[in-house]
Subunit: 271 residues, 4 copies
């Protein structure tokens, strides 16, 4: 299976970057499954139902979220009706939405996509390691599904690496989000799981993690309430990772980063 | 000036990776200045005077540190006698050592190297933004020095990006350390400063940020005291960033990541 | 039921303060149940099996713990054999020991004692609110037990107050520990549960939360490794709260703080 | 000098509790100086200029603040014109307002009042220990002023105790605020400084640190955006500490807590 995962879409420029390229990329790269994190798609904070619908109609198969999941409150009433939008698995039991979804490709193959949140330097949720283990007890690659993609939305690199190793051999891809900075450490772990600490954001990198520079810098220098943070509107770099998996085992055969548009060094998978 | 910065050296394998390659790289890349972060060089925790001396005799011009600066207490009595080892600038006034150093190249050109620590999700130190601004009031590129390199040892990507933009146009390179994960966002900022959120570690990536996997994973899953963390001893990838600056302005002309050895995708500057 | 709860015992002076008074207090105050938090009883860090045994032989009915539960590793092998020592309920499933215990008084009445840990500004554990609710689903005052005492070991006052209100009417006493500082806000909540944000420590208050002053102050002023923290050895104030409950409902009829010995203003329940 | 310090005023009920009693208390207790923390006086968040003026006209001599200093943005333009309102000393240099004030009593005696913020589990500001030491280099009890009162607005008990010991013998009173919970550990430290870890709030204790219970509990149990937090409007307990100092030395002769109104155990200084 050929899978593309794109990191946190930030604001209009991030959406434009993704929407303008997605159809072409699906064809050019022969993609079977596209997953995007869209927790910052609506003006930097949350995801509106309308934008979610646009993404899902434009070639996105599954949308993941994170700590900004509920910034747009209208998503709360929408998420239960749209299983292709998932929120972190380790929210408490009564939370709207689901933390995972099994999607069927056009050809009938199936993929499980999971979204989970780290706890180090973040809000205390249920244990992401245990929750994910429990969920994976119900799914097995090569048996119930052909591939498993896990978006670990977390701050600390140590937690993300540890999480990747814990799942190594049981899922196709563990990819981090939340730091809005793509890492150059994409690799296939010892037992065959593709891994990247952070996919990076889809947004304007002439910014502070996607938001305009001046107010964001001021928050560190002055300890006063300042201007509201706004998405920076320069051309986005869309950032993510592509993985090709073996349908028999679900494990990764090849992976490569993708960075297109905007200020970052450009790269496109060559397989 | 041709500058190479390498991120946190972790344990013996990290040291071996750096020491075995440094002389060759100096020649091959025509390096004028080599700076390494070595806060984890001594078995993962701190830097012994003996290892510092070896690094400085093997082609390293300046060593930077971080939150592990004093893990090896014998460095405390050593650092005041060795100005080429610098510790974060924003420690309190009476702290041993210095937070910056001006080094003279063989040809007489001069470079200022600065080490400073972030505060978000870290121990509260003096304001890194203000401390660095004050220091830079005493140095100017193209006048007192030919280049300025700043190692911002910090956890949060937002703080590192904000820090980079604050210094944009006034220094040659702002490069992050501490997360032990190289980022793929190296770029030249709007006013000419080279930037990378994190250089990545020089260590074994089949690990949890350089330490053996099992005890590190166990710390997240079980909340019990476990085995002592030990550096993972597989072959290191040495990770860093190379910058070529304009001696007249100190600003960056070109930059490229360097990743050699071990598990990560290999890359070498081509200029 | 007449219940005395004493907060974190810190070091030898804390133990001496408790052990020298406990027998007298049991008689004088007509105590039916004595619960103490002893997470710092062994030289400030953890609880040795020997000290636990001494406390349990000297009039303590149940010992609670906290984030220092495993500082003395010999307790790990001991705790499963001694149900009167409980550790926080919201540790992960495979953790040694139990988070609650039902003890029978000499006259046959029964009390449930629970220990649970907060998460705000602390290590991320399982949700203390949900864990405690689940446990309380199996016990009811006036039916299965005559009284329920809950030690919420937590940093933030907001979390402790919220926890108290959530349990109001379902338990006899919610008392906080961990800050080593007695609060003056003991009261009976709206639905009949006795509450105090923190019981305070049993230790020398001429100290920094029980540890000698100089090294503890130095840690805030200098950011260098310093002397090891040691318990301060001046005379202890033993601090706690006494509650009288209605055996038919388990709810609190009266409560009063207890502070004896050492530097704090002395007080003893007058009922 | 006879000094009363009252902790964080929360909302209307907190203001009413203070305003209705202050004139009587000044007379009854023979108060020379009244200091109140009012960071939550305006509907729980910040302090409006109008409420500040009312407090200052009703018997309050100095108002201190904390992390909510700028929640009411209209105070930003007001504070420089009203030196009797002070904000934390360890904000960065260009912050509006001052961190201390010298006030003259009707009889000509003078007192220095200082407000400073802790850093543990709080936003990283300048070092409160060093800032306060620097300020105290310019003032000496028995020489330039007759008394010095320091409000340390902080979360962690360890930081507050350490701060108190560092100042012991150099100021009249170190009193904590911010936790909204009065502590029962008021005492005179070894060298003569009166100390209390937290004065407690002036607000309705049938609440979660002053805010209505249900939404505050929900925030811990569910991880969803909820109702806006509102001040709880039951009768306030006004909480604080009274100190009598020796004008020749500035040191404390006597201290006693004050708790009047509402749900907490009532107490009034008897000297
Ligand atoms: Fe994000
Ligand atoms: Fe996020
Ligand atoms: Fe490091
Ligand atoms: Fe570090
Ligand atoms: Fe504790
Ligand atoms: Fe404790
Ligand atoms: Fe506060
Ligand atoms: Fe407050």
């Amino acid at each position: 299976m050929r899978i593309l995962f794109l990191g946190d879409i930030v604001g209009r420029t991030g959406r434009d970057g993704v929407l303008s390229r997605l159809s072409g990329l699906r064809t050019q790269l022969g993609l079977d499954l596209v997953v995007v994190n869209a927790e910052n798609a609506s003006h930097g904070f949350g995801l509106s139902p309308a934008i979610a619908t646009t993404l899902l109609q434009s070639g996105v198969d599954v949308i993941t979220l994170g700590n900004h999941a509920w910034d747009r409150r209208d998503l709360i009433g929408h998420i239960d009706g749209e299983p292709r939008i998932i929120r972190p698995l380790n929210y408490p039991p009564a939370t709207p939405g689901q933390g995972s979804v099994v999607v069927a490709l056009a050809d009938g193959r199936k993929a499980l996509v999971v979204n989970v949140m780290g706890r180090l330097f973040m809000d205390p949720l249920d244990d992401p390691f245990r929750c994910t283990n429990e969920l994976l007890g119900k799914h097995r690659m090569g048996a119930t599904v052909h591939a498993i993609v896990v978006d670990i939305h977390a701050e600390a690199t140590s937690e993300k690496w540890a999480f990747g190793h814990m799942l190594d051999g049981r899922v196709s891809l563990v990819v981090g989000t939340h730091t809005h900075t793509p890492t150059a450490d994409h690799r296939i772990l010892a037992a065959g799981t593709a891994f990247q600490t952070d996919a990076g954001m889809c947004g304007d990198y002439n910014s502070v993690i996607g938001m305009t520079k001046e107010p964001a810098v001021a928050r560190f220098v002055r300890k006063m309430p300042g201007e509201r943070l706004q998405p920076s509107e320069g051309e986005a770099t869309i950032c993510g990772i592509m993985v090709e998996t073996d349908d028999a085992t679900g494990l990764a055969r090849r992976l490569a980063p993708l960075r297109q548009g905007g200020l970052l060094a450009q790269t496109l998978p060559d397989f």
